[in-house]
């Protein structure tokens, strides 16, 4: 990306200015989720949606773009330990560390109680079986999955029930919310390229 004021070039994936008068500066990442529209609409009925630009709309990616994209070759690979370059990951940054959670593992387990660096986290699959969010938890926090879409999780310590926004809807902690952790849906080759020290959930061996 390039800013018009100074002509500086910025790297999209990191927000880092790589060339130009502002080289070395970093844009501040805004907390964002990737969600299904239906789920987002339920959470934010007063929200607004970007409209299609009519004259380009016919050129937008088809609905099955992710299926087609999975077959497109990559110029770098980092294939190893059963990880293919186009393996879909949820990449998480916390406590100065990087960790990738394979999407298939999230879909299968629905709730992953784990740690990224020194930060204990919860990786939560939404009631739509598609959207994912990551939250901070206390290291003693043991969470379990429930079947109610409005009360997705329960923590063993207080028996409070939590929704997909990370807020307790019942129990001793009702009204409080868990802190959101920055997460990015990314292909393995790209995540590994920009996070050379990353670990991967479910893989014990050191990542090359």
């Amino acid at each position: 990306m390039r800013d018009e004021q100074t002509g500086t070039y910025w790297q999209q994936i990191t927000g880092l200015a790589v060339s130009g008068p502002l080289a070395g500066r970093r844009l501040q990442l805004v907390d964002a989720d990737e969600l299904s529209f239906a789920l987002w609409k339920k959470e934010q009925p007063a929200g607004t949606v970007l409209k299609d630009i009519a004259r380009f709309a016919t050129d937008y990616a088809p609905k099955n773009w992710d299926v087609r994209m999975a077959k497109v070759p990559t110029v770098i690979s980092y294939a190893q330990a059963g990880l293919g370059p186009r393996g879909l990951m949820l990449g998480v940054h916390a406590a100065g560390a990087s960790r990738a959670f394979p999407y298939n593992a999230i879909l299968k387990e629905k709730l992953i109680v784990d740690q990224v660096g020194t930060q204990p986290v919860l990786v939560v699959l939404g009631p739509d079986n598609r959207s994912v969010r990551v939250f901070e938890r206390r290291s003693s926090g043991q969470f379990y999955r429930l079947t109610d879409p409005n009360a997705l999780l329960m923590d063993a310590e207080t028996g409070s029930q939590w929704n997909f926004q990370g807020c307790a809807v019942s129990g001793a902690l009702k009204g409080t919310c868990l802190a959101h952790v920055e997460a990015l849906k990314d292909y393995w080759f790209d995540w590994r390229n920009y996070n050379p020290a990353t670990t991967v959930y479910g893989i014990r061996q050191k990542i090359r």
């Binding site: 060339s19 907390d31 969600l35 299904s36 609409k41 007063a46 607004t48 949606v49 630009i53």
Partner: protein, 160 residues
């Protein structure tokens, strides 16, 4: 001015062409970009407009100086062609091929969640700043790549 102005013209032509082509060669899709060559290509991009103007002015100046002295139609035509090409490469340098391919959104418009016709299964990038919540559908973001926006009083740029 050196004895062989035609050599200077040819040099200007080669440099002008290299300045035009190098960034397009390095920074293109489906090619691994090493950090050093990328850094060089970006430097070329930043200084190129100024350099191309210098080269074009130099080439045209060279042509004008040499025109009365040159003998033969062939030499005049050759020199003119060189100067014209330098000018042409300079003009082409001002076109960003990737901005032609990827149309940015110059004026973003928004629908309320209720009136949006988006299918429920469509994936969106969801942002909330203060009380303001906004969704950017991925299928349109993957085409436009960037939206300069203002949300909850904060200027942001949504990218994909």
């Amino acid at each position: 001015m050196a004895r062989k102005p035609i050599l200077w013209l040819i040099l200007a032509l080669v440099v002008s062409f290299a300045l035009l082509v190098y960034p397009i060669y390095v920074i293109r899709p489906f090619r691994y970009q090493g950090p050093r060559e990328l850094a060089l290509a970006l430097v070329v991009l930043r200084y190129r407009p100024f350099l191309q103007i210098l080269l074009a002015a130099g080439a045209i100046g060279c042509l004008i100086w040499w025109w009365p002295k040159s003998k033969g139609v062939l030499r005049k035509v050759g020199a003119s062609l060189c100067a014209l090409l330098v000018l042409g490469f300079g003009i082409l340098s001002r076109i960003n091929v990737y901005e032609l391919m990827f149309h940015p959104i110059d004026r973003a418009e928004f629908a309320s969640a209720a009136e949006s016709k988006l299918d429920g299964a469509e994936q969106v990038i969801a942002v909330q700043i203060g009380q303001a919540a906004r969704a950017y559908p991925i299928r349109s973001m993957s085409y436009h790549h960037m939206v300069n926006d203002m949300l909850g009083g904060l200027p942001i740029v949504a990218t994909y």
